[in-house]
Structure formats: structure tokens, C-alpha cells
Subunit: 389 residues, 2 copies
Amino acid sequence: MLNYTHDIPTKVYFGKGSITHLEEALRQFGTNVLLGYGGGSIKKIGLYNEIMKILNDGGFRVTELSGIEPNPRIESVAKGVELCKENKIDVVLAVGGGSTIDCCKAICSGYYYEGDDLWYMVKHVKGPKKSLPLVDILTISATGSDFDGGGVITNLETNEKLGASFTYPSVSILDPTYTFSVSAYQTAAGSADIMSHIMEGYFSRTEDSELADGIAETILKTVIRNLPIALKEPDNYSARANLMHCESVACSGIPEYGKQSTGWSCHAMEHELSAYYDITHGVGLAILTPRWMRYILKKDPSCEWRFVRFAKNVWGLEGNDEHELALSGIAILEKFFKDNGIPMTLGELNIDETHFRAMADHACEGGRLANAFVPLESDDVMEIYKDCL
Amino acid sequence: MLNYTHDIPTKVYFGKGSITHLEEALRQFGTNVLLGYGGGSIKKIGLYNEIMKILNDGGFRVTELSGIEPNPRIESVAKGVELCKENKIDVVLAVGGGSTIDCCKAICSGYYYEGDDLWYMVKHVKGPKKSLPLVDILTISATGSDFDGGGVITNLETNEKLGASFTYPSVSILDPTYTFSVSAYQTAAGSADIMSHIMEGYFSRTEDSELADGIAETILKTVIRNLPIALKEPDNYSARANLMHCESVACSGIPEYGKQSTGWSCHAMEHELSAYYDITHGVGLAILTPRWMRYILKKDPSCEWRFVRFAKNVWGLEGNDEHELALSGIAILEKFFKDNGIPMTLGELNIDETHFRAMADHACEGGRLANAFVPLESDDVMEIYKDCL
């Protein structure tokens, strides 16, 4: 078991009605609020009005940044930073999914960034940054951005989508009822995202960080059990709550404590897909993951034990032929995604080979995947992309 | 699934050599340190010298409070508060097990308490308290006091041992190598304590908080697998690390998120044993737990499903007769404690019926166990104590 540092200062209010904590969460920082949100779904479900009533009744002064993109762009970050400076913002309130929260995190850090080029900050300035305080209200179970310090920002000019460390939310309000109206497609994609966050860390060489592996397996099993229920009964509170509880922990680092780092290969490969084609992140991950698994299992059979464990402990499969078991675990994962309505080929997303070489090169830039669970080079990634067609 | 609030500000450095973070952990608060510790085991393992070298080299001014008791007494709290005031202490450094950390938490809160009577603060002042900052270095895997805000203080004059909310440590340093020298008896008792923290919350009426239950089951299985290894090979790093990782999370509240509160019946009953007889907390819990389980299963068979789940998911037992399965789960728990060297009767600790009535009355004072998983009154507790003889 390896060393780890736990340092998550975020306070979480989880459950129906948790919005009652919003006013106190903001007021500790001041009364000038930047409200960041996406395409307007928060208006459709009545959440926008609920928030504005609380803010108006509380005497807050609100500046709005709407239209934050599903793969949030550096231009939105720049616009948010400008609004914060112009309006002497005390605290940023992000309302939405991971994209909105990620964008607002970058805004909070960008506010104090002294350079001119915010993309330089995203790409090159490492580690957590001095930031404005951030409060968020989550509306989809997917990214875990409510309980981690990172964010992913896209630059369509350079075809880059990059993760960076910004700041932890001070307070996250997680009310599963806000996810009742999330479409079946986005619910399934969000669950694939949760599962990917776990699988990226689960497939590690470390064998003896038992609590971390157990938490990872529990999250996978909980999502596997609850996603089909949420799709069938979109307002099943228990199913939505379980998915939300899992998404929050899945990206926190906790399921990887004590384990050798793994490179998060599927995320590196998916960010290229999203950067070039602006697809839904969770869908890209679902398509890539089983192909990545088969590829690395073939490339380095010494990692088979981990696939056997995955098949047994996550899917409850049994059998004496370990190789067969490893493959069955991958097959059942692929079937699970498919059965829950996720398109499972790049062809279905109208993506062809055109940019595969550039994407593969960029995914492996600077030897980024050289220390992955199974190290990958550009040619490996090319093969995996092709398997996804 | 019920609502929960997550609010744990503690930063944890886990693993061999984490003491390298001690200096920065203290310095953020100042240079006047109160060093609290117990009976001198930290001198035996060389940790005292290691700490003093770091503090002396760093120019810290150290005031010592040694001799903190295994069931820490209110007199030690009072002494610590006095030392903090006399020496203008900036930060308290607790080095030891849960008892030392609990005592230092009470000192940190007592420093700002305005009344004369610190026992009144422990017994009657609810909620977290304004406190001096606390840093701790853990030397035994047991109580989780390094990752929670509570503490348990004993008043031998009134025969009371009471839990209270004080403050979270700012930084906890968890190095498993410091537990290599912990005796077999204390290692086993500590593991029983970890398991009890889980079982107290696991036996709840809430059926659908799946991640919390999964984490609880993982912690129990991890302790069950690693305790015998740690007893056989006291310096097995992996086993000691797994026990320490579990102890930290077990008492954090995380394994109970979303679940109906349970009353922590065994802790209430055990605190009476420790208050009257000053026994090892984990041993008292190990003795009480299987008897409590059999008693409540008989009193309220509607809770049988939870025992069946415990038998299956924690112990891997199988069978069609659910009642038989429930009882087998309890029997194997009792056998596990016994096999690992824990005395499993009160008789072995020279405790007889003398104070049972007073203890039972006090454990149920103010209807404290009226809302437990299975509600208990004084007569119920009397029966459970008698079963332990």
C-alpha cells in the first residue's frame, strides 16, 4: 500500500431540500455573486427561479453567466473572469453539471491569475491555485466535479481539451431530485462517466490497498444496480440518490488512495474525441473502455489478475478459466453500456479515422501514458481508436 | 436514502515517513506547542526523540503534558487547559492513540470554554466548539479520533464516561510503522473497536444507502483479513496499513451517510463498563457486541434481514434458513474475537453484577437508547450485561 494525502475541504449537503443551506453557504463570503449555468435546463426544472428568489430575498447582487458549454470553452472562462472583475464578485455559484462547475472553477482561479493568457494557465500552471470561493448546486450525476479540485477546459482553436487543478468547491449542494428530469441518454452517459472514474483507478498494479479497491467495487456495483432503475423510473429518488452519492465519491481520489497511479488512459484518449468532435464525454468513455481493456489485456497478460478480480467482485462472475473470466468481465461491461442505450461505436457518432493520428499523438504527448497501468504509445492508441469504429 | 452533511476539514498524511509533514503542519499555527502523550510508549519506539528533534531544529517552544490515561480523565483535560493558558500555546500536538487525541481535543475546546467547570462542557455543551488547532500523530489503529470531531472523557468521581463533540484535527499524520510495536492484545482490541464503529452504524433500518453499506462491509472484511496477519507478523506493513486506513474511515461518519441513526448501543453500554472498571474499550465492545446482537434479534425478529446481510456480505456465509444464517453470522464474529485473543466474558475481567443496575440505568438515561436500531431500556441492558458474565 502506497502513501496518500487526503485533503478535501469541501462541505457537502446531500439530499432533498438541501438548497436551504444555499444562503448561509454564500453569505460567509459576501453578497456579490456570479451565477454560472449552462443551456437553460435549470430554468425548465424551476431551479433558476428557486435560486433567484433565495438570492433576491437575501439581498444578494447577482451577475449572470449563462450558456456555459457541455465541453466548457476557454472563451467562457475568460468571459466569467471579466464579469467577476467588473462586478467585484465575492463568490461564484455554479449551477449545473460537471461542465458548468469545471468552467466556474477555472473562473475562480482565473480571477487571481496574473498573466494575460488564461489558456496558458490551464495548460501549464500546475497545482491548486489561489481562487475565489466556489459554491455549486449539482444537476446531473456524472463528473464528481462537486467533490474534487480539478476541471477540464476545451480550446477549439487548438483542438485541445485539458484537465487542470484549480480549486475545491467550498460548499456543494447535492439534491437528487434535480436529476429527475435528466434524459435517459445523459443519465446513462453520466453513469458511464462515474464508472470510468472508478475503472481508471481500479486497474492498478497495487494489490493490497483493500479499502480503496472495496470502495471502487461498491461504487461500480451501486451504479450497475441503480442506472437501469433510474432509466425506467426517472423520478425514483433512491436510484437517483445512489447515483449521486457515487458520482461524488468516484472522482474524489478516495477510491485510489494507497494505489499506484494509473495514467487515466481512457480519459486521455476521450479528451481527444471531445476536443475534435465535441461529443458527450461519458459516451466517449463508454465506447473506449472495453476496447482499451481488451487491448491492454492482450498487450500485457501479466495484468490479467486485475481483470479476473473485476469480473468476480464487480459482476459476480465465476469460473476456473481465468482468461475466459477476464474476457467475460469486459464483455458484460460492454453489454451493460449497450443495454442502457449508449451508442457503442464511433461510427454511430459519425467519427471516422481522419484525425486519429493527430489525436493519438496528442494523447501520448510528452510520454503522458508511458507510466499508465499498461503503458501506451501513439500506435497503441491508434489501434484502440480503430477498434472503436 | 436519508440526507447527510459531509464536513470533515482534516488533512491526512498517510504512510511511512509522513512525519516529514509535521513541521509545516504545526508552523501554520505558530511556534508554541503543547505536546500531549500517554504512558511513554512513544519514547520506547523512538518517536518522542524524532519529534523533539524536529521541534527543536524548527525553533518551536514545547510544553509537555505526559501521562494521559487510556480512558482519559477530566483532570488531564483541566491540566492541559491550564498549561495552554500559562504558555500561550498556539497549537496542540497529540501523539498516541485515540485516548490521547480525545483528551487533546477536549483541551483545545476547553481553552476557549468560558465556564469554570470543564465537566459541564463535556456533559452539556452540544456541537463543535471554538478550539485551538490540533495536529496528531497516531500510534495505534483503533478509534478513528484522527478523522472525527468527537472525544470521550471519563470522570471517575461520578463514574461517567461520556462522548462529546469538540473539534476536528487540522492535520493527522498516520504512519503504520508506528503501530508495529503495539501488543497483540491492544492490536486485537483496537481492531474490535474499528469493527464496532462499523457495526454500530451498519445495523440500521435504512436498506438503500448502498455506498455507505458497501464501505462498511469492505472495512469489516479488510479488518477480518488483516488482523490475524498483523498478530502473526507485527511488522507486516501492508497489514498494519490496511488496519490504519480502516480505523481512520470507520469512525468518520462516512460509513453511515444516508442511513437512519442507530443509537450506538454497544458504545453506550461499554462506556459504563469503562467508567466503572477502567477496562480496555475495544475489549468491552467485543464482549458486548455478539450478546447485544443475539438479544435484539430475539427481541425484534423484524431486523433479521440485516443480520442475514451481515452473514452473507461480511462473512461470506451461505444457506437457505435465514434465521440460522443470522445466528451463524453472530457466532462467527464471536469466534473471530476469541480466536484473536480477546477475553470474551466479563468474568475474565473480574467484573460481576454489582453495578449492573446503576450502569444499565445510566446507559439508558434520558431515553438515550429509545431510538436505537432496536430500542433498549434499562432491563434490556441488564439482560445483555448478564449474558456477558
